[in-house]
């Protein structure tokens, strides 16, 4: 499973991408977050405030109860701050 991090999530975790193989019972975005938090203190800190993290599954926004599969591209990032004016 390909997991991407952007903006300060990337800075805190220390990488923009990792390939992970969570156990089969990790079947939703929310469960994946909980599992990722157990991987390192940096992960735990990055995901420490759930309200500040957004998720996308296969490049579409996804809620915590969104189902995930081994072939998915899953991304975590802060609320967007693009554009100007």
């Amino acid at each position: 499973m390909k997991v991407l991090y952007f903006a300060w999530l990337r800075s805190r975790i220390g990488t923009g991408m990792e390939d992970v193989t969570p156990p089969p019972d990790v079947a939703t975005v929310g469960a994946l977050i909980e599992w990722l938090k157990s991987r390192s203190p940096a992960h735990a800190e990055a995901f420490g405030q759930p309200g500040l993290v957004r998720a996308a599954v296969n490049q579409d926004y996804a809620a915590p109860d969104h189902a995930i599969a081994a072939s998915d591209e899953i991304a975590f990032f802060p609320p967007v701050t693009g554009g100007m004016g």
């Binding site: 991407l4 991304a75 554009g83």
Partner: protein, 149 residues
């Protein structure tokens, strides 16, 4: 191609001209150009984005605009990378027979783009670069479009 995500600068005049060239039915082109705004301690910013998702979200937003309004053409260009103060960041330009549709669609697109397109802004500051947080005002402007009139 009407949606471009690129490091390079763009030419608003050329984009506006292209939207109406050879299109005698186009009566109005509205456009929005966003610039890097300066402050005393921020000479530049850096925009990070999510390649692939950006294009996908912009295409979805454009499709929605075309469903809501009768449009003859849409161009969305968004830059990423390091951008000094005064640089152009984003262009949204919309062509239509009539100005009401062109104005509404242009404003709709930029509001959604600011809340849905996966870009993150890092500002240079006296203590090094820092990530900029999302503004509630942007979300409330985008929410306008969800209300039934």
């Amino acid at each position: 191609m009407s949606i471009r995500v690129q490091r390079e600068d763009f030419d608003p005049g050329a984009e506006i001209a292209a939207l109406s060239a050879g299109r005698p039915d186009v009566g109005a082109v509205t456009s929005f150009v966003g610039f890097v705004r300066g402050s005393a301690d921020c000479p530049a910013m850096t925009l990070e984005h999510y390649p692939g998702m950006t294009e996908r979200q912009l295409a979805a937003i454009e499709t929605e605009a075309r469903q809501r309004w009768d449009l003859d053409g849409v161009v969305i260009i968004h830059r990423y990378g390091r951008l000094p103060v005064g640089d152009r960041i984003v262009l949204v330009a919309v062509a239509s027979r009539h100005r009401a549709a062109a104005f509404s669609a242009c404003e709709f697109l930029i509001d959604w783009l600011k809340t849905r397109a996966p870009f993150w802004k890092q500002e240079d500051g006296p203590d090094g670069p820092r990530w900029v947080e999302a503004k509630d005002d942007d979300n409330s402007r985008a929410d306008r479009w969800n209300k039934t009139p």
